[in-house]
Amino acid sequence: MTATHVSARIYRYDPSVDAAPRYDTIEVPLEPRMRVLDVLEYAVDHCGIGLGFRHFCGVKRCGMCGVNVNGKPTLACWEEATPSMVIEPLGNMPVIRDLTVDRGAFERATVELEPRLVRKAAYAGFPEPLTHADLQPSFPLMNCIECYVCSSACPAVAATPGDDASGHAFVGPGSLVQLAKVALHPKDELDRSALVEKAGIENCMTCYRCEEVCPVGIPVVSGAIMPLRAIALDGPNGQASFPRDFAENVRANVDVHSASLFLKTRGFLRAIASVPLAWRMFVRRKTRLFATASDSAKRSIRALFEAAGETGSRR
């Protein structure tokens, strides 16, 4: 039987008056091509609940209407209404009221990453020579509508609370897309390695959740975060040089030798703190003390590094 109604459980919470969040359930006649946003509008106009939510354009351009629908972070204006829905605010952000969240921490982080082109020479005037090939790395990132749906779903954001309640040590994928948009632009001449370090990029867990939830299909990890990690390899603090340590470990050992990588990454003193863990691993036969690759395999892997132009040194 075709469903005729939408049953929506909607998150309600006003931190200034409510002791705890609650849910209101509403019944809405299901219309063809109905969107989640239509259900929210109906709730306000016909159900007598003063629901708080944010939207503007209604056509996936302004990025304002992010919500969680049945646990999936998405845009209310673009998500199809289904007969049974739980509608909640986006995660990783404080609730202002009901479905309206405070995006301030992510927006401030974006601004602090200076997402604007910086030239060293004077503007040569219009038109500037610019080819599609030159723009190719930056181009797909320009579709970002800054909805921060990606950052709301990011486990690394959740795991890196900052020093104060308003921010995160890892700025999140949304802000990194804005940074990469300019950092990968052929006309940008600023050394952005310090800014990428400031973004806490080493905390990205490469889980691809951001790519999965992005409403406009931006290759967040492969197109923005990976190239930024390359830039951060040579950052002033050296806090994001782990990928190079890893690669050099592969060059030396063919298979990754985790004990030596651990020592290199943590340093001797911090590694000492892990001696009890290392000892238990040894007892449980979880430690491979020596690399086992043959000399011919080592030669073959070294040849690949050379053919790929990977010198291992700072650029």
Partner: protein
């Protein structure tokens, strides 16, 4: 049924039990494994950040070793699988990028020809045998055991994703007789890839999943990824520290869970090599 076996670095090191259980399970199901010795690392999520061409070349070298034997690749790591699949896709289409990579490989002494198929052992079991045929091996049904499947992110999202890989894990847990408990949510991650650089954040991430497992009275977690296993088992003590909760939930490789159901002993399945003791789990069976 013969495969080029690529266990990956972790299963030859800190999760060697995955390698042992795989060998036992393969022999039980009649899968022949020809290990790709000296195949080297797939680059994990790190080499691609340093030098994307090198990332593809490391993986292409592994693919070419299997192609030279005319065998498909069997992996037991979702991250290896994702990297090999991503590379295979890149090197299948006739593009200038492919030509450039093949030329570079040639200059390094690697002849790249055909791209072999790459599958995780779990996919091979589900696709080549099917649940009905595999069920016939079950001599110790894990009835009543509450298992939380933890699918690795790299299996089902990102450039090397394998469609349908999440349901495969659930299907294989079900055929062991165990009860699947849906604990993992989509924004969960094991945190493995930042273990080296930010152990506390990694532990907070794994603790989100593990404490929920404890809340839902899960007997064990099962995963298809030795990397997830590392974060959830070896570093479970750190998750306990940051969450202030006693967790003590064993984490099994899928190959171990099936091996136990198929009659393997504790040492054959490598259950004595875990950091979180599996003794209590085995007493329940």
């Amino acid at each position: 049924m013969r495969f080029a076996y690529y266990p990956g670095c972790t299963s030859k090191g800190s999760t060697r039990e995955a390698h042992l259980a795989t060998q036992w399970l393969a022999s039980k199901t009649g899968v022949e494994l020809e290990e790709l010795v000296d195949a080297g690392c797939c680059g994990s999520c790190e080499v691609k950040a340093v030098n994307p061409a090198l990332h593809f070349m490391l993986n292409a070298r592994i693919l070419s070793m299997a192609a030279a034997r005319d065998l498909e690749i069997l992996t037991i790591c979702d991250t290896c699988q994702a990297n090999l699949r991503e590379t295979g896709r890149k090197l299948t289409a006739e593009t200038p990028a492919r030509t450039a990579l093949v030329e570079k490989l040639k200059s390094a002494g690697v002849a790249y020809g055909d791209t072999p198929r790459v599958r995780h052992f779990a996919s091979i079991l589900a696709e080549e045998f099917g649940a009905a045929a595999l069920s016939r091996h079950v001599i110790r049904p894990l009835t009543g055991l509450r298992v939380a499947p933890f699918a690795c992110c790299h299996a089902f999202r990102g450039p090397g994703a394998t469609p349908g890989s999440r349901t495969i894990l659930d299907e294989l847990v079900a055929l062991s007789g165990a009860t699947s408990v849906p604990v993992r949510i989509d924004s969960d991650c094991c945190g493995f890839h930042i273990l080296m650089v930010n152990e506390a954040a990694s532990a907070r991430t794994s603790a989100r999943f593990l404490t929920r497992c404890a809340d839902m009275n899960v007997d064990c977690v099962v995963t298809t990824s030795p990397l997830c296993h590392t974060a959830l088992d070896i570093y479970q003590g750190k998750a306990e520290s940051v969450s202030g909760r006693r967790i003590a939930i064993p984490v099994l490789h899928l190959e171990q869970l099936l091996a136990i159901a198929f009659g393997a002993s504790v040492s054959e399945a490598g259950l004595d090599r875990h950091m979180v003791s599996t003794d209590g789990l085995m007493r329940k069976l």
